[in-house]
Subunit: 202 residues, 2 copies
């Protein structure tokens, strides 16, 4: 039996809300909670209280608190990490990578993401969730942008976009997880310059 | 007081060994123990027993078991990850990256390293040790090889070798830690091809 516990401010005076609206508010609350308090303090109960949704609903929609946290994270960072599409692939990639570097360097996301990836190394369930709900969809968005550039003839025909993802965003994750060198705007710019123009001399 | 516990086979009948020899055997034992049993089972006591060195010596030379484990790891993988220098930078980088991919994909190193990097995300002391005793020295070796190629006129003058490290080995760590895509020989080859020749079309 589910008992009503604390008052749920977001629900007060609203009556029944459409499921899509509840879902949006749950995701927003989950992202906010994760980014302000970190994974250690993240619980389904707190998200329920913050969003005004019932815990039963949350447990019905998300199989675990890890799944809810990752969906909340994706929802929170998605707009910041959108791919611009001006047709200039160098400028678009640089802008997106600068936004990513900024997010990791200057916000709580830069502490939460390494924590999640770190725990995933010894927690197979979290690892699967992280890939399914965060890294694979983010990778797909990047591949899509690179495929568009290929279709427009801006990238070589024989280039595998999946490898490019590792040489741009993967390079950033490397500095995030093993911080021998800093994450800077100049780094984001050099990544794109190196890869588009090539670093070799004939 | 240090009491003699189990028999220590490696020391039997040898008398006093030179410090350099003891150090070599300790590192070999540490690397072997880490790669066969993982970090969870790694203790200074076991390394002492395996190497025939006294625990007092080990505690004198290494500030913690993490430091000893990382020095043992570096010692164990060093020869496999040596940088060939044939003068052909594309071939040399590809050979080194293939050796790295092989080590991570086909040996216990590919389980130990993610475990160490994972724990380092929430353990500042391990993080500092990992950088000081493993990633920074490995990075320095790669930068050295890239600087040689620059001096020989094989890489563009304005290229920062530190960024290249993230776009080659960092890209591999990305697939190791977030395994959305596999670590393969073809991947190692594509990393070098993309970066040397560039992926853009004018």
């Amino acid at each position: 039996m589910v008992t009503q516990q604390a008052p749920e401010p977001a629900r007060r005076g609203r009556g029944r809300r459409p499921a899509a609206e509840v879902r949006r508010e749950v995701l927003r609350a989950a992202g906010e909670l994760l980014l302000t308090e970190g994974m250690a303090a993240f619980t389904i109960e707190k998200v329920a209280a913050l969003s005004g949704a019932s815990r039963v609903t949350l447990y019905k929609w998300w199989p675990s608190k890890g799944a809810l946290a990752l969906d909340g994270y994706f929802d929170a960072v998605g707009p910041t990490l959108a791919f611009p599409d001006t047709g200039d692939i160098a400028a678009d990639l640089t802008a997106q990578l600068r936004a990513f570097v900024h997010l990791m360097r200057d916000t709580r996301a830069g502490r939460v993401m390494p924590e999640l990836i770190g725990h995933a190394q010894t927690d197979p369930e979290l690892s699967a969730l992280l890939r399914e709900r965060y890294s694979a969809p983010r990778r797909a968005l990047a591949v899509e942008a690179l495929e568009r550039a290929k279709e427009r003839g801006r990238l070589r025909e024989d280039v595998d976009p999946e490898v490019v993802v590792d040489q741009l965003w993967g390079a950033c994750y490397h500095r995030l997880l093993i911080p021998d060198q800093p994450l800077t705007d100049e780094f984001a710019e050099a990544l794109v310059r190196n890869l588009l123009a090539g670093i070799g001399r004939p």
